[in-house]
């Protein structure tokens, strides 16, 4: 759990965001990229999650928001993840660096593959307690 790490939500288009923050977020769905300001995950065609603390600002419908508290990050091993995640997690289908939003049981999650066996799983804070219990249960 690394809650206090600064996170930002970027919303806009690739080009309007480039104007606002000075770099292009990844345009390939469900991929991540290392940017000058930190690791950046594709969430939607018009939304990205940045692991970094750049200034909050907006210009019209292009915006950078603070989401440092919104998600709690868990580090989860492949076996535990496969207990509840319906994604095809074979490496050829979900390589290191890929990310996806999906559900685990009744919990919406963002999954990011850090290594062959290590995943970051981001859970919205109000459900983090529940997800923690679930992780404990499937760990047994």
């Amino acid at each position: 759990m690394a809650e206090l790490d600064a996170k930002r939500l970027l919303t806009g288009t690739v080009s309007t965001l480039q104007d606002l923050v000075g770099w292009r977020p990844p345009s390939e769905p469900n991929t991540s990229a290392h940017t000058p300001d930190g690791l950046c995950l594709w969430l939607r065609p018009d939304q990205w999650l940045l692991f970094g603390g750049i200034a909050v600002r907006h210009r019209g419908s292009t915006a950078v928001l603070d989401v440092s508290s919104r998600w709690t990050t868990f580090t989860v091993a492949l076996d535990a993840l496969a207990a509840g995640c319906s994604l095809d997690l074979r490496e050829r289908a979900f390589a290191v660096g890929r990310c996806a939003q999906t559900r685990i049981e009744q919990v919406p999650v963002i999954v990011h593959r850090r290594s062959a066996d290590q995943f970051d799983v981001l859970v919205e804070r109000p459900l983090a307690h529940y997800f923690g219990l679930w992780l404990e249960a499937v760990g047994k």
């Binding site: 508290s69 509840g84 994604l87 049981e105 109000p126």
Partner: protein, 870 residues
């Protein structure tokens, strides 16, 4: 009996002891309960479902219809297990079921003598007078199979998702070949089998795993047995190969359900795998060649095979000849196991040569191989029944269905195979007709003079084999059964907060203090808000940020209010409707900048509203430049409310001018607060209590700190944590409505007094057109009003109804409290035509007694709202 040598599945060096019905027996590692019981010459292991006839082991695998037992583990018991699926373990405790006093002598066997009176569907033909309930209880108790434990089973089962290119179901010769071939093609292959699997190169093997269901888009559910636990596998495969083999079907003849009558293939399997012969003198009864090698194998182990009656030869002699034997091994041919294939929408067709259903057209990505594909030695001479008493010839052993029952069904017009199934319950038992279905429908065809292919087969339904409910529930039991959202402030639970479910969030109903009743606690919290200061965790409040040049236009289409006139820094209370005109959600929204708005929703509406906004943005109003970001989880919201609230908030050290002039009611300001790291805050002067309030949004990670800080800073004013119940009292005193409580699936804004406000708005908005339909315009609709009982101390429970002189309902109470502030009972109610009936006294019916109450304005407390401005 067990032979001295042999047995591919058993390990003679590891003897195991177990008990059945209290008697101790010995078996070997690798035995099933069935093989061990046969090895110990236990012949009667169960009683049948309806007639309580003695039954022994009949098969060797999941097809077993008769030998149902209960496994006991301490206080826990698992009923209805087939003895053939129970792996023997040391100290295993098994017992028979559905028998009293014992399986050897069962009083309910009387049903057997009554059989003539109990044909299929007999209960529909009688027990009508005086009514079914006079008999139902007794009949219910005799039905059912095993008993379940009275205590909970605490253990959690696990689940597992799995993906592969090729899934092969069944590890027999054909399955192994298919798996090997696919692996050589370089495919990622998974092989599942109910039993053991010898390893294959580059094949993921899942032994002790039974595929139980084949669902859409090639999703296969499979159950892995790990000791006495089960794990559910959800396997998604690009291609599925069904190597599910075939199941032998019995021949139908008089007393074919007696202990000692067994499937020939089972007799062969017990000999080969467990070196067990179920008797000393085996006779065969067959209509095909499959039994001869088995007979040979028995003879080669010096087991007496007294005779082989082959219907293709000896049909004539059947009635006359007497054969001495203690085991009768029967074979009526084989049915390919196509249940899973059929669940996956595979078609079946009847094959005359095999007298069985074989795969027809297969959906893409599915194929059958081996016996499942009909690769079975033929030579079957179909024979669906025998001479003699049809009431003594069993078609379905598990639910006690006889030839006579099938005849009766046909006679009474139940000639559709689905009718047959429902009328006689053939194939409806836990085994789902594995040994009975083809016999039953062939018999039906014979009786009704139709070809079997025309009779058709019933649909196969998951699961192929019963699964414990625990395995399907998986981890979602106990503390994981209910998925609650938690507030960012941990303080509540540790400080007397009575946490309850409020639309999916665990929130404090009230805060318990020693020696205080619930009502006292609530009253104390209410007084604090009215006369001092209260602190409330409203973090579940929905917070949605809307950006863009067209943000105002976008929101103006969503709200019944006029959004465009809202100046930066201001808040407005608004309502949203569904297109049907019904109130969807309400709350304040604010203009932070001309291209940046904040939408606050109810806790329950937060996700729904954001979802609905996105739908309109993406699907209908694509021309608008606007983006929506729900930030409910990011921002905690702590509300300080009450006459003393301003001074307490001032002590926080926020860089916002809090004076009434600079920061009046219904305004919003941003700034930072003097806590570690000077976190940003957004403060709203909006109130749900009717008192001056400061709603402080702060990043959730700082919520704990801010909460305790406010408690410190307000200690002098005795700042008091406020629970949901007190909040409810406060808003009822003010006559503030709560969507979903004071409104329902039919309530429009016109019903809650918003008619004029709406009339002022020029533009269209979602749901507006619905409001002008005749029914929404009627004067006698349920309209929200205030209600004051004439007896000021009489509490009007929520839900009680107002009635007219004739006693007909004219509305109901939606919210209510005995106001500690006004020291009188006040309520809100939806009353027919209520809007125009202010001042009228109406009758409220509480448990049959009428009480008088006056219709009045909803704002009972501070109607002018002077206290809000403070």
């Amino acid at each position: 009996m067990r032979l001295a040598e042999g047995g591919t599945h058993i390990d003679r060096s590891r003897p195991l002891s177990f008990t059945f019905d209290g008697r101790a027996y010995q078996g070997f590692a690798g035995d099933t309960l069935a093989s061990a019981l046969l090895a110990n010459d236990v012949r009667v292991v169960a009683r049948s479902f309806k007639f309580h006839r003695p039954r022994g082991v009949f098969g060797v695998g999941l097809e077993e219809p008769s030998a149902l037992v209960t496994i006991v583990r301490g206080p826990d018991r698992e009923p209805n297990l087939r003895a053939t699926e129970v792996q023997l373990s040391d100290g295993l405790v098994a017992c028979s079921q559905n028998a009293w006093p014992s399986v050897r002598f069962d009083l309910a066997a009387i049903n057997g003598w009554l059989a003539p009176l109990l044909p299929a569907g007999f209960y529909h033909k009688t027990f009508k007078w005086p009514r079914w309930s006079w008999y139902e209880g007794a009949i219910r108790r005799t039905a059912g199979l095993g008993r379940i434990a009275g205590t909970a089973d605490a253990t959690r089962e696990s689940k597992r998702f799995h993906h592969c290119d090729v899934l092969v179901i069944g590890a027999g010769a054909a399955g192994r070949a298919a798996a090997e071939a696919a692996a050589q093609r370089g495919a990622d292959v998974t092989l599942v089998d109910s039993g053991r699997i010898a390893t294959l190169p580059n094949v993921r093997a899942l032994p002790n795993t039974t595929a139980i269901g084949c669902y859409e888009d090639r999703l296969v559910a499979a159950i892995e047995r790990i000791g006495d636990r089960q794990r559910l596998w959800k396997i998604r495969a690009a291609e599925i190969v069904f190597a599910t083999g075939a199941t032998e079907r019995p021949l139908v003849f008089e007393n074919n359900d007696r202990p000692g009558v067994m499937l020939a293939s089972a007799v062969g399997a017990y000999l080969e795998r467990y070196a067990v012969v179920p008797g000393r003198n085996v006779a065969f009864f067959t209509n095909n060649d499959s039994v001869y090698p088995i007979a040979e194998a028995l003879r080669s182990r010096d087991v007496v095979v007294s005779t082989i009656v082959d219907t293709r030869r000896d049909d004539a002699v059947l009635d006359s000849r007497r054969v001495d034997c203690d085991v009768l091994a029967v074979s009526g041919g084989f049915n390919p196991n196509l249940q899973l294939f059929s669940q996956a929408a595979g078609k079946l067709r009847y094959d005359e040569k095999l007298a069985a259903f074989i795969p027809g057209e297969a959906p893409p990505g599915l194929r059958c191989v081996g016996a499942a594909a009909g690769e079975i030695d033929g030579g079957v001479a179909p024979r669906w029944r025998s001479p003699g008493n049809p009431r003594k010839q069993w078609v379905d052993l598990q639910y006690d269905v006889t030839v006579a029952d099938v005849e009766l069904a046909a006679r009474e017009g139940f000639s559709s195979v689905e009718h047959l199934k429902r009328y006689t319950s053939v194939g409806m038992a836990p085994d789902q007709g594995k040994t009975s279905d083809v016999n039953a429908l062939a018999l039906l065809g014979e009786i009704t003079g139709r070809a079997i292919g025309d009779v058709g087969t019933t649909t196969f339904r998951p699961p192929y084999h019963p699964v414990t409910i625990a395995a399907l529930a998986g981890a979602r039991t106990g503390s994981l059964a209910q998925r609650y959202r938690r507030l960012p402030v941990a303080w509540h639970e540790k400080n007397g907060g009575v946490m309850e479910d409020h639309s999916g969030w665990l929130r404090a109903a009230f805060y318990r203090r020693d020696g205080e009743s619930e009502a006292q606690a609530i009253a104390r919290e209410v007084r604090a808000a009215r006369f001092g200061a209260a602190l409330f965790d409203s973090s579940s409040l929905g917070k949605i940020e809307v950006f863009g040049r067209d943000a105002a236009e976008f929101l103006n289409r969503l709200y019944v209010n006029n959004v465009k006139t809202l100046a930066p820094g201001r808040l407005r209370y608004g309502m949203m409707l569904g297109e049907n005109g019904v109130i969807k959600d309400d709350g304040v929204f604010g203009c932070l900048a001309p291209d940046h708005y904040l939408v606050c929703t109810s806790s329950s509406g937060a996700r729904d509203v954001a979802f609905w906004m996105e739908e309109w943005r993406q699907c209908e109003w694509r021309e608008l430049d606007v983006r929506i970001v729900p930030q409910t989880a990011q921002w905690a919201t702590l509300t300080v409310s009450g006459p003393k609230s301003r001074e307490i908030v001032a002590r926080l050290g926020v860089d916002i001018d809090l004076s009434a002039q600079a920061f009046p009611h219904m305004h919003v300001r941003s700034g930072s607060v003097a806590l570690k790291g000077d976190p940003q805050v957004r403060v709203r002067r909006a109130s749900y209590t009717g008192e001056m309030s400061f709603e402080i949004d702060i990043a959730a990670e700082h919520a704990d700190l801010l909460w305790s800080r406010l408690l410190e800073l307000g200690a002098a004013e005795n700042i008091t944590p406020l629970g949901m119940e007190a909040l409810d009292v406060l808003r009822v005193e003010k006559g503030f409505l709560e969507v979903g409580v004071d409104t329902d699936g039919e309530t429009t804004p016109l019903d809650v007094g918003w008619g004029e406000a709406i009339a002022k708005k020029p533009e269209d908005f979602l749901g507006r057109r619905s409001l002008s339909r005749p029914a929404q315009q009627r004067a006698d609709r349920l309209q929200l009003v205030g209600l004051q009982p004439e007896d000021p101390q009489l509490f009007l429970p929520v839900g009680v109804h107002a009635v007219d002189d004739a006693g007909a309902p004219i509305g109901h109470v939606t919210s209510s409290c005995v106001s500690p502030t006004l020291n009188r009972s006040v309520a809100m109610a939806r009353i027919r035509g209520g809007a125009k009936r202010s001042g009228e006294v109406i009758a409220i019916d509480i448990d049959g007694t009428r009480h008088r109450a006056r219709i009045c304005d909803r704002a009972f407390y501070d109607p002018q709202g002077a206290r809000l401005n403070g």
